[in-house]
């Protein structure tokens, strides 16, 4: 008795989860509840502000507490949302398992000859009478089947022959392939949550680190070091809109360089499963920068110099001395007065002021702008001074992540696309052609067809086969 009851409970649960209606309810609940997280900010301080604006300062705290209990500020990780997802997965699995045996039978049951009266009730049907012998008609319809890439079978019946075939039986499984891919996505997400991590690292130019920082600020050790050679922002020509952010990163194992790569926004660096993404940048407070200048003239002189503010350099053979006087991270002209001014703390338009002293003449001072190399041409002396970089004051902001689940997500995506293709664009098609002699030298051809979907396409295909066969038959008759 007890055993039987247990079985009944199991059957009850199984039956509950095997329902497509439950799937529809769960999909709908997931869709509707997801809206909450797009309206309520998913961070406490912002949520407090948001609730204050909507409910007023008196009611807001009570609403906030209720929201806190319901995890509305982190709803996509809340117990009830995860519960919905779990129920959905169980439902998806049970529903599919329940239906697969029946579908499998449909796939595996070979197509059989069909009685004439049944054939005439099929969704696609055609009937023609042709003045031709049974054998010729049979041959041409066999051909027509084969050119449409059907594997034909033939049955001889008392009143003629029947040709029949099917194609695309496995497309019936497409929907389960899609379901499987959804489960795979969950597997990938769980693996990522369990074995992956998200972190960040701000790395000043010329420095290295063997730890990164998690979201909560804890140190996560790496088993290698990462160094930043340089960081730079490229701007669109003549505009202050950034075009690219890039950094040159170096991976070091025991102090030895093993990998070097320039990363950009859409082009990260991966080493030992850990990926470094260009995500931000900034200025290191109190850092002393080094001016990287390239001096060249038309007599083949070319020299790259690295100097600090206040330092001087001499250009050999020309008796010119340059001294670095001043620096501006963003030099521009005040729109009203026209005077030179620094308009930002970020290195948007870096400029260096250099005083040139020459023997026998008064010196002069000028600004050289990094983004406008033509500002460094000194005609009188035939010299060109390029301001290549103000190095050592910026840091590159890296997003660091390790997610072994991503590969499963990608595989799941491919599986899903293949499944959707089979489910929507392929169809299990069956065609029967019955050829029976009527009177002297004539045959009556009945064609019937059924498709698991896209009846119109099958209709077109049947029409195509029919016209191909009749054309071939007419061709033969003309020859004779």
């Amino acid at each position: 008795m007890e055993n039987k009851e247990q079985v009944n409970i199991f059957d009850g649960i199984w039956g509950f989860f095997a329902s497509v209606k439950l799937a529809i309810v769960l999909l709908f609940l997931l869709a509707v509840t997801s809206i909450i997280g797009t309206v309520v900010p998913q961070e406490s301080p912002k949520a407090i502000q948001f609730l204050g604006k909507i409910f007023g300062d008196n009611t807001a705290p009570a609403v906030y507490n209720a929201f806190l209990k319901l995890d509305f500020m982190d709803m996509y990780h809340s117990w009830w949302f995860v519960l919905l997802l779990v129920l959905f997965c169980v439902n998806l699995t049970v529903c599919s398992l329940e239906k697969i045996p029946r579908t499998w039978k449909l796939v595996k049951t070979p197509v059989k000859p069909m009685a004439k009266n049944v054939l005439e009730t099929l969704p696609v049907k055609k009937e023609v009478t042709l003045k031709v012998s049974l054998d010729t008609a049979r041959d041409e319809f066999l051909n027509a089947f084969r050119t449409s890439k059907y594997d034909v079978k033939e049955a001889v019946q008392e009143d003629g022959v029947q040709l029949y075939s099917e194609k695309g039986a496995y497309s019936r499984l497409g929907v389960y392939v899609v379901h499987l891919s959804i489960l795979l996505i969950f597997v990938g997400a769980i693996i990522g949550a369990r074995f992956g991590f998200d972190g960040s690292l701000n790395l000043p130019e010329g420095s290295s680190s063997d730890v990164v920082y998690s979201r909560t600020g804890e140190q996560v050790p790496l088993d290698f070091s990462i160094a930043c050679n340089w960081y730079k922002t490229d701007y669109y020509k003549g505009a202050d809109a950034p075009q690219e952010f890039s950094s040159e990163l170096v991976i070091l194992e025991n102090g030895k360089e093993v990998l070097k790569k320039v990363i950009e926004v859409n082009n990260p660096l991966t080493y030992k499963g850990i990926t470094f993404y260009q995500s931000s940048y900034g200025i290191v407070p109190d850092a002393v920068g080094i001016f990287v200048l390239k001096v060249s003239n038309d007599r083949g002189l070319e020299e790259t110099l690295r100097l600090k503010q206040g330092e001087s350099f001499e250009i050999p053979g020309q008796k010119i001395k340059g001294t670095i006087m001043d620096f501006s991270p963003a030099l521009g002209r005040d729109p009203q007065s026209g005077a030179l001014t620094t308009y930002s703390d970020s290195l948007i338009n870096p400029a260096v002021s250099i005083r040139f002293d020459m023997e026998g003449s008064d010196g002069f001072t000028g600004w050289i702008l990094k983004r406008y190399p033509e500002t460094g041409i000194i005609k009188d002396a035939g010299l060109k001074v390029e301001f290549l970089d103000y190095w050592g004051v910026e840091y590159t902001g890296l997003q660091v992540s390790k997610d072994p689940g991503v590969i499963i997500i990608y595989i799941a995506s491919i599986v899903m696309v293949l499944g959707l293709y089979a489910a929507f664009f392929l169809s299990h098609k069956k065609i029967w052609i019955r050829i029976a002699p009527v009177g002297k030298g004539s045959v009556k051809v009945n064609i019937g067809g059924s498709a698991s979907k896209n009846r119109l396409a099958l209709e077109r295909q049947v029409e195509h086969m029919l016209s191909r066969a009749t054309a071939a038959i007419e061709g033969r008759l003309k020859k004779n």
Binding site: A31, V39, A241, V265, N266, T275, Y277, Q399, S413, M416
Partner: protein, 273 residues
């Protein structure tokens, strides 16, 4: 006036006339459907295509980087699908229902600033073009399904009331409307899926997180879930005909909200700035 602005205005004008003619066509007491609206839409489409190509060349990227461009590209995708269907199935009065939808997008597009701006480093990825084209073509298929759904509901009223005259004769049969409606949803759904997948891959190469629960992401997931429901209601529960038509109209209302509402009301990474 800049050439691409002129082209846009020309396209808008042709679509406008096509939409008006399409609506007039509904009230004309003629038994045959005029082909003029189709040709007007085609003319508008040609100017529109040149406008999009001109913007592409000038900006160096697929022009979907602000609301003007996005709404304009959306209309372009719908007109493309409309013309393909018009050519292939020759459904009577299709333009009367699709061109007004196109016009809504075109007019919305015309109220937003039109300048071509430099794009942020994030968008300088080939995934941007792939992602956007898939998403917009998917939305266009849903827009068409909505138009066909409206046609179905009207035709169904004629059939139910047994008034077998007037519009009844000009509208396609219930069966073909139903089949094309379903066909469009089976195109839109995989396209939306591919759009989400391409977004996932792009997000992972740009940020190291394939899913951030950003409002646009969530709303496209919601759209995906709702169309998954529509498909299951149809294939497993057998909701066809009128119910399927209503669902495809509601589904598109959701697409419209994801397109305009999320961009204008809810903040996130997909918001143009």
């Amino acid at each position: 006036m800049e050439i691409n602005v002129l082209l846009f205005e020309l396209a808008l004008t042709f679509y406008f006339i096509a939409a008006i003619m399409g609506v007039i066509e509904l009230f004309r007491r003629r038994k045959t459907v005029s082909k003029t609206t189709g040709y007007l839409a085609l003319a508008g489409f040609l100017f529109h295509s040149v406008n999009i190509i001109a913007r592409y060349i000038k900006g160096g990227h697929i022009p979907v980087t602000n609301l003007h461009e996005a709404a304009s590209f959306m209309s372009w995708c719908i007109v493309l699908l409309f013309l393909l269907h018009e050519y292939r199935y020759k459904l009577g009065l299709l333009s009367s229902f699709i061109m007004p939808i196109v016009l809504i997008f075109m007019l919305s597009s015309s109220i937003f600033p039109r300048e071509i701006k430099e794009i942020s480093p994030l968008l300088r990825s080939y995934w941007f073009g792939i992602h956007v084209i898939l998403a917009f073509m998917g939305n266009a298929a849903f827009a068409m399904a909505c138009g066909i759904g409206i046609m179905y509901l009207i035709q169904e009223r004629y059939v139910k009331s047994k008034r077998l005259s007037g519009l009844f004769l000009k509208l396609p049969s219930l069966q073909s409307l139903e089949e094309i409606n379903y066909h469009l949803i089976t195109m839109g759904f995989p396209l939306l899926t591919l759009a989400i997948i391409s977004g996932v891959i792009w997000a992972n190469t740009a940020w190291g997180t394939y899913w951030r629960w950003d409002p646009k992401e969530v709303w496209s997931l919601i759209t995906w879930l709702i169309y998954a429901i529509v498909l299951h209601l149809r294939l497993s529960i057998g909701w066809r005909g009128k119910k399927a038509a209503i669902l495809s109209i509601l589904g598109f209302a959701l697409v419209m909200f994801t397109f305009f509402g999320v961009t204008l009301l809810l903040k996130g990474i997909h918001v143009f700035n």
